[in-house]
């Protein structure tokens, strides 16, 4: 019998006033009973619209059905057929614009909590399941993967399963990409990412950290070393600044720097971890995406008393996941919408003391289809803050494209690929994830890694 409640089974969460002082995970996850109850809200649509909303086509009704039958391991295996990182996607996918956006149940009331169920199944497996890794026979061919974010890890995993000898080269001292240095612990525990990395290692994937490709080795060197194909999954790490006065004052961070200091370098445990970060009492975060929410919520957890999100459009246009906006509000983040910074003001020693903003009104839709914000005359006002975090986007890092001959890129830096195969303008060189699309999502990066792995396999099988 289907459960006809119009609401999702609520997610147990840490209380907002407690969690905004710790870095532990906010959402605690369903238990078996809750999962079955929620799974029963799925009416098993014949045409399964939800599946079309998922970039990797997870067999959603099928895995949900297995949950209702109490076969959690079976459900896990079902998801794994198309999605190699369910514990991560269940937590960070923007479900409201993907799978859940097309769910029939969402027409009247809330859609089925597909993401939460996916997370439940993955967590259940982590606790109770056994990962059997049958090592495939090696086929003697070497492939190099550059970057260990979701794109690179997925491509590595798929190729290892096919018997390739895979080496992942990562610039930082810890693999995982944005999953490790960007997305905070309270949203995606690092242990989960680490487990995925460990299981790749058990499959025989070699991970070489501290290797900045383009500097220590070029792509041409990799071919000379016997790698027969290369996948570039270097992400979109280059932070954008606004180009307004005062951006180099002390106390102005890019979100990348702020989050890296906290997540990767563990500045919250200063001085045991000696990398410092300055948060101050009042913080303004500029931007409206996931990155901005993460920075704001991290600032709060680091002890800031007042944290503002300064965003030039309205809440409707915010690109962040709904859940993050909701959680941020619950945790006391103050939203200054239709507000745009024009200058950052410093004190006599060069530290930030305020940010001057103007109010915006929404005009006609722009190229992105969102209504264009227009400054209102005479609406200048100053918000007193000691820290400004800029989270207005990132673009692909030029390190690789500038050191590889014949690798075509877009004007804005994205690597150009054949969308069917993810092959670049260089034979045997593939690319995917944020390095190709610009800042996007974990699941799209994974999808690209998968597609490239299949194409690399085809290319090397026929070579």
């Amino acid at each position: 019998m289907a459960n006809m409640s119009t609401k999702k089974v609520p997610m147990p969460e840490q209380d907002p006033d407690i969690r905004n002082k710790n870095f532990k995970e906010v959402a605690l996850g369903y238990d078996e009973k809750m999962a079955i109850e929620e799974a029963e809200r799925c009416i098993q649509c014949k045409n399964q619209p939800c599946v079309n909303g998922c970039p990797v086509h997870v067999q959603i009704p099928q895995f949900i059905k297995l949950i209702t039958q109490g076969d959690f391991e079976g459900a896990y295996q079902k998801i794994k057929e198309t999605n190699s990182l369910p514990a991560i996607c269940g937590r960070v996918c923007p479900q409201e614009s993907q799978c859940e956006s097309l769910c029939t149940r969402g027409k009247k009331g809330e859609p089925v909590a597909i993401g939460r169920l996916e997370r439940f199944v993955a967590d259940w497996h982590m606790k109770n399941g056994v990962d059997e890794i049958d090592l495939p026979a090696k086929n003697g061919k070497k492939v190099a993967i550059i970057g260990s974010g979701p794109a690179g890890l997925t491509c590595a995993g798929d190729l290892a399963k096919l018997g390739y000898e895979v080496t992942v080269f990562e610039a930082l001292h810890t693999p995982g990409g944005v999953l490790m240095y960007g997305i905070p612990e309270f949203r995606l525990p690092k242990e989960i990412v680490q487990r995925e990395i460990d299981s790749l290692k058990r499959m025989g994937v070699k991970i070489e950290t501290n290797m900045v490709i383009g500097k220590i080795l070029t792509i041409d060197d990799l071919f000379d070393m016997g790698y027969e194909a290369v996948f570039i999954g270097t992400g979109a790490g280059l932070p954008k600044f606004m180009g307004i006065p005062g951006e180099n004052l002390n106390g102005v961070y890019s979100a990348n720097e702020f989050l890296t200091r906290i997540n990767l370098m563990k500045a919250y445990d200063f001085p045991n971890h000696p990398t410092p970060v300055k948060v101050g009492k009042k913080v303004a975060v500029v931007g409206g995406g996931n990155v901005a929410m993460d920075a704001a919520r991290s600032a709060k957890r680091m002890g800031a008393e007042e944290v503002y999100i300064v965003y030039r459009r309205s809440e409707e246009e915010m690109p962040a996941r709904l859940e993050e906006i909701y959680h941020a509000k619950e945790e006391g983040i103050i939203f200054k919408l239709l507000t745009n910074p024009v200058r950052i003001i410093g004190d006599e020693n060069g530290y930030v003391k305020g940010i001057e903003c103007v109010k915006m009104a929404l005009g006609e839709p722009d190229e992105s289809g969102r209504r264009r914000p227009i400054p209102e005359k005479g609406s200048e006002h100053v918000i007193d803050v000691e820290t400004v975090i800029i989270a207005i986007g990132q673009s692909p890092n030029p390190l690789i494209t500038s050191t590889t001959e014949g690798l075509d890129k877009q004007k804005w830096g994205g690597i150009i690929v054949n969308e069917e195969t993810m092959e670049t303008s260089r034979k045997g060189v593939y690319a995917g994830g944020d390095a190709v699309t610009g800042a996007a999502t974990v699941i799209l990066a994974m999808g690209a890694g998968k597609k490239a792995a299949a194409a690399i396999h085809e290319y090397l099988s026929n070579k």
Binding site: V212, F270, N397
Partner: protein, 284 residues
């Protein structure tokens, strides 16, 4: 890999280490740097590649013990391994073939990053005058090495205990006043020294290269923490530099930014020294 093959104390606060890093030694060029993490929890600290030897597969670093991380590094001994050693980072320096005569100026530990550039120029037949300075005689480093690659070497100390009493800029002014002509000046040292050098060379219209040392984390262009204003534009020193046209650099801003964490760095050092006394975290 990353093993310390040799360790020398150059003066009371400066140490030299030769690190085994064959792959990096093949790629390194003058002007590039490495990022080091001493131990598992360590900070990522940038240090210039002071020398490299592709045949032996070694990279030399020279560092001044100024705070917790450089002190922890200084405690490591021959046979120990660095936890992380990344590089070569940054843009190698290049000089136009028209550069025939160069004045190289190094202050304090800044002589370490200066040396590989001067060595390269010398090898290419460029005529070189060098001025190196320090607080007092024991703070003048790499004197013999610099002498070997310079046509003329001038030494200054603040207290006159070695060479001329005064600043490197005093000799610079004198050389220029005496009509010496240089195609380029390279100045590396404390920010205030580089700023003063640039003020003088600007009057004489001599192109001047400086090497910036802002606070860095990743060293790959990902965080933007290392930004410096050059000619009114934001540059990331780790990927666009660290060498820049000194006449365009906003030194006052750079000095402010470098001091951003002074209070916290002090705290980290105190905590570290306390732990060391307790015999806690030693070599990491």
């Amino acid at each position: 890999m990353n093993e310390i093959l040799e360790k020398r104390q150059l003066n009371p606060t400066v140490k030299l280490m030769v690190i085994n890093s064959p792959l990096m030694a093949k790629k390194a060029k003058p002007g590039q740097f490495v990022i080091v993490r001493v131990n598992e929890n360590g900070e990522r600290i940038p240090l210039t590649i002071a020398d490299y030897n592709a045949e032996k597969g070694t990279i030399t670093i020279i560092f001044q013990e100024v705070g917790m991380s450089t002190k922890a590094l200084g405690k490591l001994n021959v046979g120990d391994r660095l936890h992380d050693f990344v590089g070569p980072l940054g843009v190698p320096v290049e000089f136009s073939p028209d550069v025939k005569r160069v004045l190289a100026i190094g202050g304090g530990v800044g002589v370490a990053p200066l040396y590989p550039k001067v060595k390269m120029l010398h090898k290419n037949g460029v005529k070189i005058d060098s001025i190196i300075g320090g607080r007092s005689s024991e703070y003048v480093i790499l004197e013999d090495e610099m002498r070997a690659v310079s046509d003329n070497l001038y030494i200054t100390t603040d207290d006159g205990s070695k060479g001329r009493k005064g600043f490197v800029t005093d000799v610079l002014k004198e050389l220029l006043n005496n009509g010496n002509k240089y195609d380029e000046v390279i100045a590396i040292g404390p920010l205030i020294m580089m700023k003063m050098v640039c003020q003088i060379t600007k009057e004489y219209n001599i192109p001047t290269m400086v090497s910036m040392n802002p606070i860095m984390i990743d060293g790959t262009g990902m965080c933007g923490g290392c930004r410096v204003s050059v000619g009114g534009e934001i540059k990331f020193a780790c990927v666009d530099g660290p060498a820049f046209d000194g006449h365009k650099v906003d030194f006052d801003e750079a000095m402010r930014r470098q001091a951003m964490y002074k209070d916290m760095e002090k705290k980290a050092l105190e905590e570290y020294e306390h732990q060391c006394k307790l015999g806690g975290i030693l070599n990491g």
